[in-house]
């Protein structure tokens, strides 16, 4: 029982032993730093220069220039802010909602438990991306800020997590020490936060990293389809420009244009995936035995 608790603290020290988690962490950290400090280091000029479009990568333009003749590297760096901001907050909210409802569903029995279960089931059966499109259209003309957009995205991301968490909680709650707490008449919040939460915490952390991918795809998709507020350096918008507006795939000398955007998107998602995989291996003793 306390074994898992120990794992949580040990996990952090074990962190350095797991290469995957480490690399994933470095990639994410790299982009987070880019998001925070990038715009102070790499200045962005959005002034178009049509005659200098599609310049190949060079020292002056590490990623080349785009259809407007604007430096792609500077746009990627400056766009990291919205990309990271949106996907991080979205996954945070998704994990928050998923955890709370998941624990409630797992712990509570009776009418309220069934109600929570029904809510989870409903969100599970509604396909998320189409629903998100509709939500975005509904709120499209009401100037949403980043937190609100993240909430809308998170609304369609949390359900699978909640289901998994509730399954975990259900298997934990039958354990003796919870029974003991119940017999001691401990208040609900005590049981949930002191007894159950620490046990599912590593699991949630892993999921946070996993959610990054979903959140990235959703937010990029939203921007890509022009349903969220326009930020011309958001990678989704950049990709939209590259593929649909500029038709870069059909222009051999523009190959670098979508390439570097996709590269960065993939690298960030990849970072999230292997970070999650690494964390999972670190926290899950069963997986660890095989290293």
């Amino acid at each position: 029982m306390s074994e898992l608790r120990i794992n949580l603290t040990k996990g952090i020290s074990l962190f350095k032993y797991n290469k995957k988690a480490f690399i994933g962490f470095i990639i994410i950290l790299f982009y987070v730093l880019m998001a925070i400090f990038g715009r102070y280091i790499v200045p962005l000029s959005l002034e178009s220069n049509f005659s200098e479009r599609y310049l190949a990568p060079s020292l002056k333009h590490p990623f080349g220039t785009d259809y407007f003749g604007i430096d792609i590297f500077a746009q990627i760096v400056n766009g990291a802010r919205t990309v990271i901001g949106l996907s991080m907050t979205s996954s945070f909210f998704a994990v928050l909602i998923g955890t709370i409802l998941g624990i409630l569903r797992g712990y509570l029995t009776g009418k309220i438990g069934q109600l929570v279960d029904a809510i989870i089931s409903i969100f599970l059966v509604i396909p998320s991306f189409p629903a998100l499109l509709i939500m975005a259209a509904i709120f499209a003309d009401s100037n949403l800020n980043m937190v609100q957009i993240s909430l809308i995205v998170a609304l369609w991301l949390w359900a699978p997590l909640a289901k998994q968490v509730s399954a975990q909680v259900m298997s934990i709650k039958s354990k003796e020490f919870i029974e003991a707490s119940k017999m001691l008449n401990m208040p609900l919040y005590y049981i949930v936060f002191k007894d159950i939460f620490p046990l599912v915490a590593p699991y949630i952390l892993v999921n946070f990293a996993m959610q990054l991918k979903g959140a990235m795809e959703f937010t990029i998709g939203l921007m890509f389809l022009g349903l969220a507020k326009f930020d011309s350096t958001h990678w989704g918008i950049m990709l939209n420009y590259a593929l649909y507006q500029a038709g870069a795939l059909y222009t051999p000398r523009a190959f670098h244009y979508p390439f570097f955007i996709i590269l960065n998107i993939i690298l960030l998602i990849y970072g999230g995936i292997i970070f999650a995989q690494g964390l999972e291996e670190t926290f899950n003793p069963k997986l660890r035995g095989h290293e």
């Binding site: 178009s48 049509f50 407007f68 259209a137 003309d141 038709g247 795939l249």
Partner: protein
């Protein structure tokens, strides 16, 4: 057990793959007498001309207007009509004697009368036609309503719906009903227009009758009920699936002998990439997608048979202002914006093939300006050559100040606003992006906002924007400056911008309200001397008071392939200008007359 299933499946898949690679051929439509195009149409296909989407891209192939009008030459090419005469408010059309429906029945004046009754009943339009009667089987006489503009004659002659939309022998069942609804609708319309009150009872009766008719007619789908759709045009839709639509030659068409193209095959225009890909691989003979410059060069390189001809779309893309916003009520600011924007750069980034907006913003399309606005007028007007200095002068004179590269109004508020643009229109988005960039650089704080798919109308009409990219002057329907001015001062642009067009504006010829000028122009449209005079005044007001700032004149790029077809007109040929507002007209004209044919 499971394993065997999987094995069988894998075997099956690989077998089919091997099979399929054996007899591999591109779409079986290798017939050389096909014309292959891209378009959109409703599927499941109803063939109902009153249904939304109607017959899609087939429209101009299956419905014939009385005549085609070539804007560049001002010439009418007779189609269903052999000739026509105009006598005051009467238009007499002499129908082609050898015109037949595709099921072999003769096309008569009765069909025209029937069509007008039906569209008036179904669409509550065109009430401008007060009566239509068949003088004899080959002659129809239209009488215009007294207040209808004479330009409506043009609409009657060139609109594809007017003559052959509703075959009498197919729709005769509802003719009486349609007639009744149309007459009642006309009466209500005329009464309302002349200020009389219409009783609720009449209105209710109209609603009842018209919805009863609409229910029946909309449910009737000729394509499904009759298994065919008798049409008077050169082609009849015969086979329709979601991704392709086949039109087969009407062998009774009066030009059937000249026409050597057996079929018109449409592929669905599902995405621009798809059309690009189809053009490159020779799957299409012609299409008109927006294409960035480099893509065009590359496509021409891969498919050397590809040519491009650009024709004016008879419209311009403009920056429009919300005049309820006090920032834009100031003419000085609008003028400054007009000076700041580098139109050529905007054009390059947005649609490289477009015509630049020119240096005068007269409301007359820049490609037509020399024809309508005389040099004497031009010399009186402000010339908007891109110049930040001129803009600064105007602003400083008006009391604006600049601090830290940010302009402030005389009342010391920062000049900041949001530019809204309709997301799905790529070229607009690109133009907006460039405009925002230029204005920001000058020292206005401008942000950009995308209007989501399907929301353009909502945002524009509710006035929930500060400034936007929209069509400015546009000459669709009736290719004449009047159409553009009507848009700017009476219709949609006036509605959404709230430009005070009824106010009087100072001109070298005195004070005029543009709203009244447009009315006057409408009345005098056939009086070319008077019309030109009025146009000079409107041009002056438009240029000096800037209801909108034009960015570029939109063009339609037509990509056509000479791989399988011969006879495409030369680049100078006026017939290309038939394309805007119905590009299929151009193809139909060329193939029915046997100009364009298979090699």
């Amino acid at each position: 057990m499971k394993k065997t299933l999987i094995k069988i499946f894998v075997l099956f898949m690989s077998l089919t793959l091997i099979f399929s690679s054996f007899n591999f051929s591109f779409a079986a439509t290798k017939k050389t007498s096909d014309l292959k195009l891209a378009s959109d149409w409703p599927y499941p296909f109803h063939g109902n001309p009153f249904g939304p989407g109607a017959v899609g891209g087939a429209w101009w192939f299956v419905y014939e207007p009385f005549a085609y009008y070539i804007p560049q030459t001002g010439q009418y090419i007779p189609r269903l009509a052999e000739k026509w005469t105009i006598n005051g408010s009467k238009l007499t059309v002499y129908l082609r004697k050898n015109a037949k429906w595709s099921d072999g029945r003769a096309f008569t004046a009765q069909d025209v009368v029937n069509t007008v009754a039906f569209i008036q009943a179904m669409w509550q339009w065109p009430y401008e036609i007060q009566t239509v009667r068949a003088i004899n089987p080959n002659t129809v006489e239209f009488t215009l309503w007294k207040d209808a503009p004479t330009s409506f004659m043009h609409t009657i002659l060139t609109d594809g719906a007017m003559g052959s939309l509703v075959p009498y022998h197919v729709y005769s069942k509802w003719y009486g009903q349609a007639r009744q609804v149309a007459e009642l609708g006309k009466k209500i319309f005329y009464d309302t227009q002349s200020g009389k009150t219409v009783s609720d009872e009449t209105k209710k009766q109209y609603e009842k009758l018209s919805s009863a008719l609409r229910d029946q007619v909309n449910k009737f789908s000729p394509y499904k009920t009759l298994k065919r759709m008798p049409v008077v045009g050169a082609y009849e839709p015969t086979k329709i699936i979601q991704s392709e639509m086949v039109l087969s030659k009407n062998k009774y068409h009066w030009l059937a002998n000249k026409n050597t193209t057996e079929r018109v095959v449409f592929r669905r225009w599902s995405s621009n990439e798809f059309v690009w890909a189809s053009l490159v691989s020779g799957e299409l003979d012609a299409a008109h997608p927006n294409m960035p410059k480099d893509v065009v060069e590359q496509l021409k390189f891969i498919n050397p048979n590809l040519n491009v001809k650009t024709v004016s779309d008879l419209s311009e893309i403009a920056l429009i202002f919300n005049f309820n916003n006090k920032l834009f009520k100031d003419l000085n600011l609008r003028k400054a914006i007009a000076y700041v924007i580098d139109k050529n750069k905007v054009k390059d980034v947005s649609v490289w093939q477009a015509n630049p907006a020119g240096q005068y913003y007269t409301g007359v399309l820049s490609s037509m300006q020399s024809k309508w606005v005389n040099s004497a007028t031009l010399s009186k007007m402000t010339k908007y050559t891109t110049s930040a200095a001129s803009a600064e002068n105007i602003l400083k004179k008006a009391g604006y100040t600049k601090k830290d590269n940010q302009w402030y109004t005389p009342s010391n508020e920062p000049v900041e606003f949001v530019l809204s643009v309709y997301g799905p229109h790529n070229d607009w988005v690109l133009a907006a992006r460039e405009v925002v960039q230029q204005l920001n650089k000058f020292g206005f704080k401008v942000e950009m906002k995308l209007i989501p798919d399907g929301m353009r109308d909502q945002v524009m009409r509710s006035g929930e924007y500060e400034c936007a990219i929209e069509f400015g002057s546009a000459w669709w329907g009736y290719p004449h400056p009047m159409t553009g001015y009507a848009r700017l001062y009476q219709w949609d642009i006036a509605n959404i911008t709230a430009f005070p067009s009824k106010e009087k504006f100072n001109t070298p010829w005195g004070e005029y309200s543009p709203f009244d000028l447009v009315e006057e122009l409408r009345v005098n449209i056939n009086n070319s001397k008077k019309a030109t005079e009025i146009i000079q005044k409107l041009a002056y007001i438009t240029n000096e008071y800037l209801p909108v700032v034009p960015l570029f004149e939109k063009v339609l790029p037509i990509y056509y392939s000479s791989a399988r077809l011969t006879g495409w007109p030369s680049a100078q040929d006026g017939r290309w200008s038939l394309a805007p507002g119905g590009i299929e007209r151009l193809y139909n004209l060329l193939i029915t007359e046997g100009v364009l044919k298979a090699k």
